[in-house]
Symmetry: C2
Subunit: 202 residues, 2 copies
DNA sequence: TTGACAATGTATCGAACGTTCGATACAACC
DNA sequence: GGTTGTATCGAACGTTCGATACATTGTCAA
């Protein structure tokens, strides 16, 4: 009936949804096994224990979300456009995968030492992408703050909070809302002299 | 040994710390009772059940944090300064009471219908404070976005995320860091023509 | 002094938790 | 055709959970 490795992926997907909706402690492995019509012990066969399941989830997220952001960050265009593009992509991709995003920031305190490290590593990867994109803008003297890291934190704040307040059935479309976020991020982070052109001199 | 009503307050304070550190599901009422050297049943005597304890905590937070913000928002100064002041106060007071802040945003999914409503009400109160402070700036045509609400969300994003990344033992002081947040918030939210003066015409 | 009532403690409950176990079914390999 | 490895199962383990029942103490008005 089922191909090889299918159940494992199915379990991960179900666990992502349940963890995102009810949290780590709020979701029992029985809930997850029931959602996949399989047995408790099958989860232990695949992941060792409950935290092993979380680690597998984090791996999945790391591969998908971070890859999308890296792609956006490596586009070959002007630094400002690249920054704009990164924030916009992050809003859109992150909203599509908002369940995964919730897991990243919701559950750190319930994890063991190893789980915490993996979690931090992923968050650090994302932060680094932003720093990298912001760096040429800083070198061009466009950054408002002194610290690349603080600026990156602030931009990430906007994006991650966006996933909390935005509702698809609200008055704004995803496109409108994420453009608002981009605008806020650009103007909060950068000093823009109304002349956006003539920028790529360096 | 203990005065009347002391135990109740002691239980609330201990519960705030434990919930903030380990989450709602991660903290048992036994943990809380042990932290106060009292018995399980005392908690049920005072709060009815575990969620009643959370509701009592939310009441406490609502009284303290919201009151501080209201105070900052009602200062009699120029609208821009009032906005600046509100964000700054929020950063500082919120950091001092960061445990309470975590509870506000961490646990919604574990609460019952009533708990959710109380939680939303408090978040709505805070959002309204920001909207109120932003309104005169919008009427003066200084707001970048069309929506007061979205702008308020974005500012709240910066403040609430600040509580996540800021560390007292880091390279920046609380004052430096919160000023960075204020700067980002002001420039992200508002169109400022470098001439800040001559503003209070209305 | 006593009686009501709030405050606190002890003992216990059923349910749910994460985890482990021994046993299959089945495919692949030797 | 025996051996091995993987996927899956149901049952049970010990622990902890939120909650309750009931007894005891403390306090203060009648």
């Amino acid at each position: 009936m089922s191909e090889r490795g299918n159940k494992r992926e199915e379990l991960i997907q179900a666990a992502i949804s349940l963890f995102a909706a009810r949290g780590f402690r709020g979701t029992s492995i029985r809930d997850i096994s029931k959602a996949c019509n399989t047995s408790l012990s099958n989860i232990y066969h695949y992941f060792g224990d409950k935290e092993g399941l979380v680690l597998a989830i984090l791996e999945t997220i790391s591969e998908k979300l971070v890859a999308s952001l890296r792609e956006a960050a490596q586009e070959d265009s002007e630094p400002l456009d690249r920054f704009r593009c990164l924030v916009l992509i992050h809003c859109n991709v992150g909203w599509e995968r908002s369940e995964e995003g919730k897991i990243l920031f919701l559950e750190e305190e319930h994890l063991s030492q190893e789980g915490r490290q993996v979690n931090r590593r992923i968050q650090h990867e994302i932060l680094d992408i932003y720093r990298e994109v912001l760096r040429p803008l800083k070198e061009a003297g466009l950054l408002r703050g002194d610290s690349l890291t603080v600026t990156a934190f602030n931009v990430l704040a906007l994006v991650n909070w966006f996933f909390r307040w935005f509702r698809n059935d609200g008055p704004m479309s995803l496109q409108e809302a994420s453009e608002q976020v981009v605008s806020f991020a650009v103007n909060g982070a950068l000093r823009i002299d109304s002349s956006v052109a003539g920028f790529s001199q360096r």
